[in-house]
Amino acid sequence: MIQFSRKTGFLALAAAAAIGLPLLAQPASAAGDAVKPIQSEWSFQGVFGTYDRDALRRGYKVYKEVCAACHSAELVRFRNLMEPGGPEFSEGQVKALAADIVVIDGPDDRGEMFERPGEPKDRFPSPYPNSQAAAAAMGAPAPDLSVIAKARPDGVNYLHSLLVGYTEAPEGFDVLEGLHYNTYFPGHVLAMPAPLADGQVEYEDGTPNTVDQMARDVTNFLMWTAEPKLEQRHRLGFQVMIYLVLLSGFLWFAMRKVWSDQH
């Protein structure tokens, strides 16, 4: 260890803490000043975090019936829905879900494009052919949702907060026609109207379909679309950690043994 007097050391540490800790607590943010999102506990957080299958399945339903009307999630394919660590729908269910969409494929051997039912290999359909079309239809381009949970500071808490954060604008706050007030959106005014209303999506498992519940479920789902390998990562990470801690321990004793004839 570096040798230094207690006094200097303490001063240095105190100064480092004073400047360093705010740095850790408030990491450089690229998204501008915003209201701190509601902090919730999520099943996928922590070293052993895993996704809540039921929440992912409900979340998919919310995504499909509500979000997908305006948003794309181009990086996600139907087959992902049956992969381990996700909603884990059965192969039959995924084939049925995919078959609901129409995909333009081709050209065939006569050079013609043709329509076919979707297959598990296909991407989630985009509601608009491009972001300009989306912007023309809705007044603003709707961001792709594939990795949105990682694309905002405090991503999952922010998404949940945004979805439940629609309120009347406070007294004196002017909201232009066609825009909407949201407590948690940076700047408070956004083009997206409140997407969820109590009872909007019918849940088959009897979970109460409140706005808050639907918001949480779809947030779970969007975290999975952003990090589909999270469970695998946590599992492998735990094994790696055990290995490294044991290795460090063995190396420590081996080193002590080697050095014992020197000191």
Binding site: M1, I2, Q3, F4, S5, T8, G9, L11, A12, A15, A16, I19, G20, P22, L23, P27, A28, S29, A30, A31, G32, V47, E74, L75, N80, P143, D144, S146, V147, I148, K150, A151, R152, P153, G155, P186, A226, P228, K229, Q232, R233, H234, L236, G237, F238, V240, M241, L244, V245, L247, S248, L251, W252, A254, M255, V258, W259, Q262, H263
Partner: protein, 422 residues
């Protein structure tokens, strides 16, 4: 501490080889029999840790390059393809992206260790200069690499940094266009950054070889900052003593590395880089990766663009001449009571600059009336201090400081440590 080779080939083939290409002799003399000061502490294990980091970045990077597509249309999607569809692609990519941060954590510790123990002083000036060169190459490599995923911060970071060259008088604009290969950051830029990002690590590896060579000519500095007098008493063999210590230090470092890769892989990155680059939408704050923040703060502290660029590069360039700025003959801060205190102040100043670089420049820190003391004001004070530390403190401290008595030998300093503890 060049030493006599003690290698004796063990068998007929080794003897045959030794007379043609004495590579086993080189390895033996450099990494087995090589004498290292016996008082090295854990801060000296970062050399091995850095070699490990470079190897990890090269290996993971080569695999990533097999799947990555350097075009503006497909770059972002190809990175996500790696994350989703390539076997263990998520692991390789997270090791690579966090590996860059780990590399910089290690290099900063390594550099501050050099500053604390005076490792840059004669006869190790060239060793130090080669180290600074590696650091410079690392920053360039990291910058090129950060552009490749083609997220918002990739694009805007590349735009801001390449625009700096536009500040150079007369040739600036032509130079910038030449760097871009276009009239804005676009496909040609991304493609050449990919090419350079692949090239630079091998340049680093080349300079690392020179760095290790220079190290093995002068021998390692050590916490006492005094030269080896009696190799028998003052040194131990690299293997097994230093190798075991390095292995232990590396294993502990890997725990930190694994924590970020497996449990917090995006903590050191910017969320904005998960948004596809869009030249029409500027992020609210453009910030570089954490390891470049102190220099970004210096850049923004200067009201004049060219001045900012000059100071930013000057902050690194000044490291090259450090061996001639320091007038003290004593190396280790252990025996330099004044320098030791200023060293820690300097560490705090660097962290403070990093903080400033990450904040909005007009953020008020201490409100006074309508305005107050903001991040820009703090950056200016810290920037001035940064340069004063090198240009004034290093020359002056050596002249006015009364160093503590140096131990007689490295062996004596080890025994001295022991008697301190009892």
């Amino acid at each position: 501490m060049s030493h006599q080779s003690t290698y004796t080939p063990g068998n007929g083939f080794a003897r045959w080889m030794d007379e043609r290409l004495p590579i086993m002799r080189l390895v033996n003399d450099s990494f087995v029999d090589y004498p290292v000061p016996r008082n090295l502490n854990y801060w000296w294990t970062f050399g091995a840790i850095l070699s490990f980091c470079l190897a990890v970045q090269i290996v993971t990077g080569i695999v990533l390059a097999m799947h990555y597509v350097p075009t503006t249309e497909l770059a972002f999607a190809s990175v996500e393809h790696i994350m989703r569809d390539v076997n263990y692609g998520w692991l390789i990519r997270y090791v690579h992206s966090n590996g860059a941060s780990m590399f910089f954590i290690a290099v900063y510790i390594h550099m501050f260790r050099g500053l604390y123990y005076g490792s840059y002083k004669a006869p190790r000036e060239v060793l130090w200069i080669l180290g600074v060169l590696i650091y410079l190459l690392m920053m360039a490599t990291a910058f090129f690499g950060y552009v490749l995923p083609w997220g918002q911060m990739s694009f805007w970071g590349a735009t801001v940094i390449t625009n700096l060259f536009g500040a150079i008088p007369l040739v600036g604009e032509a130079l910038r266009t030449w760097l871009w290969g276009d009239f804005a950051v676009g496909d040609p830029t991304l493609n050449r950054f990919f090419s350079l990002h692949y090239l630079f690590p091998f340049l680093i590896a080349g300079v690392v070889i020179l760095h290790v060579w220079a190290l093995h000519v002068t021998g390692q500095n050590n916490p006492a900052g005094i030269e080896v007098k009696d190799p028998k008493k003052d040194t131990v063999a690299f293997t097994p003593y230093a190798t075991m210590k390095d292995a232990f230090g590396l294993a502990v470092f890997m725990i930190l590395f694994a924590y970020f890769v497996f449990f917090n892989p995006n903590a050191l990155g910017e969320p904005d880089n998960y948004i596809v680059a869009d030249p029409l939408v500027t992020p609210a704050h453009i910030v570089p990766e954490w390891y470049l923040l102190p220099f970004y703060a210096i850049l923004r502290a200067v009201p004049d663009k060219l001045g900012g660029v000059v100071l930013m590069f000057g902050a690194i360039a000044i490291l090259f001449v450090l061996p001639w700025l320091d007038t003290s003959k004593v190396r280790s801060a252990r025996f330099r009571p004044l320098y030791k205190q200023f060293f820690w102040i300097f560490v705090v100043v660097c962290i403070g600059l990093g903080y400033c670089g990450g904040q909005s420049p007009d953020k008020i820190l201490i409100p006074v009336g309508a305005g107050g003391f903001d991040v820009t004001d703090l950056s200016r004070i810290l920037t001035i201090y940064y340069f004063l530390h090198f240009l004034v403190l290093f020359p002056v401290l050596g002249l006015i400081e009364k160093p503590k008595p140096l131990p007689e030998s490295i062996a004596a300093s080890v025994l001295g440590d022991k008697s301190d503890k009892s």
